[in-house]
Symmetry: C2
Subunit: 247 residues, 2 copies
DNA sequence: TGTGGTCACGAACACCGTTCTACTCCAGAA
DNA sequence: TTCTGGAGTAGAACGGTGTTCGTGACCACA
């Protein structure tokens, strides 16, 4: 009766009319809490939050659940499937505002910032977001919300659709890069990632083949990381100015 | 006398004043061509070009060189190091135009397009570009060239530096996503990636919770993939309009 | 001719995702 | 109450990964 993992995955991509099957069944005697998809997702999130996406392994999840790796495959098709479930739940937690035509830019930036913060909370998970198919219902929900904001801002539908793609892609890429740099800063003792002042010193010490990089070493290394995020989002959204429907 | 792989890596990041050591040493009797860093890079590129970045394995490279995996570690520190070498050589092949203040936008788009085409020629290799440190001299050369174009366009240095980051990040992300979709289209027989018409049909069949996605299914799936690339680049570069130095 | 050092390579270690197969345990039928 | 079937669990194993260790061959030079 309970659907096989493959069926659940299909439902996730096709139509959300599934019965949801949220009744977490457990034995009355409570001998040992049975493995559920939700339990798998929870422990997976815990691992990623603590040790990063690189550490997210089927074996690690199974060990945290005090079982063997093979037990997971009764609930999850794949590691790829697990990734998709994680991205889905992450997207499900995003607040989508009611579009306000007078404030759509700030609203849009707010959604992107929520996404970024969630991605950064689980370092490296945006790598899984790259692989997530666009037909997943949870990610589609976020896309729909962002599309609504763009349309409320009077952006022409075709430009809105393409800008949506660009924004989502940038948020993913930004989060992935920040996560990678952070993890290398934390993990390696004497790794190749260097601090800002060291990077600036190194830029200034470059040969004369790099005149602009040398001269503007200060600007190149200036600004906090979130500053750059806001800057780029502004860049893209302001670039949409020419694509207004009423223009 | 010949530098250890670690020393070569350090030289790659610190100063390009190294003697280059391009003399591919080989035995006069020519019993068997010795393994060189260049030979490793060449065969690695071949593998990625033919079978994608996922197939790039130390063992695969070693097998193509008719040796064991451990033989590579005398010339290359790591797989990460090999990745960096690949990105470096790829960047070394990029043509950087002499900045023309009247044509800097087209020139900049041209450089980005070159990067994209190289990334797409070696599917999935942009994943390695994400991990490449910005202190690599070859990637720095490309950054320098793009920075020169932005400055020639009269963009304020700080905005130019941040826009540079944003552009490079977007090109990487775009290439990675396109590569992933392509590989899934080619590899899986009945995979989850669906064609455009099927995706549009599925969008149109969504429940009423997705009104905008339903209504604009045509726009959402319209346009070729390179069209979207040019659109986003234009978005970002046009958004720079307000950051002109002379404005 | 000897010798030292560089390089190559087979074997092994610890991991990974995934599958096969046996086994437990409980719900429902007789 | 007993039997039976099936769902869920788990151990062992397969083929793959990056990386290291120790051994061995080879060539340039003293």
């Amino acid at each position: 009766m309970s659907p096989t993992p493959q069926e659940r995955r299909a439902a996730r991509h096709q139509l959300g009319a599934g019965p949801n099957t949220s009744g977490a069944r457990r034995g009355p005697g409570g001998r040992r809490r049975p493995i559920t998809v939700d339990a798998i997702i929870d422990t997976a999130f815990g691992i990623v939050e603590r040790e990063g996406y690189e550490a997210l392994t089927m074996r690690r999840v199974a060990a945290a659940l005090e079982t063997g790796p093979s037990s997971l495959y009764a609930h999850v098709v794949n590691k790829e499937d697990l990734d998709e479930l994680l991205i889905g739940r992450l997207c499900a937690g995003i607040d989508l505002p009611e579009p306000d035509p007078a404030d759509w830019r700030r609203q849009l930036i707010g959604v992107c910032t929520q996404l970024r913060d969630q991605y950064l909370r689980y370092p490296g998970i945006s790598r899984a977001a790259f692989a997530a198919a666009p037909s997943n219902l949870d990610t589609l929900r976020v896309s729909e919300g962002m599309l609504a904001l763009l349309l409320a801002g009077g952006i022409e539908p075709r430009a809105a659709a393409w800008a949506l793609d660009a924004l989502v892609l940038y948020v993913n890429a930004y989060s992935l890069e920040v996560s990678m740099v952070n993890s290398r800063l934390a993990g390696g003792e004497q790794h190749w990632v260097v601090g800002r002042e060291e990077l600036m010193r190194r830029f200034a010490a470059l040969p004369d083949t790099f005149p602009h990089t040398k001269r503007h070493a200060a600007e190149l290394t200036a600004g906090t990381v979130p500053d750059r995020f806001d800057f780029t989002l502004g860049l893209m959204i302001d670039g949409l100015g020419g694509a207004r429907r009423d223009a």
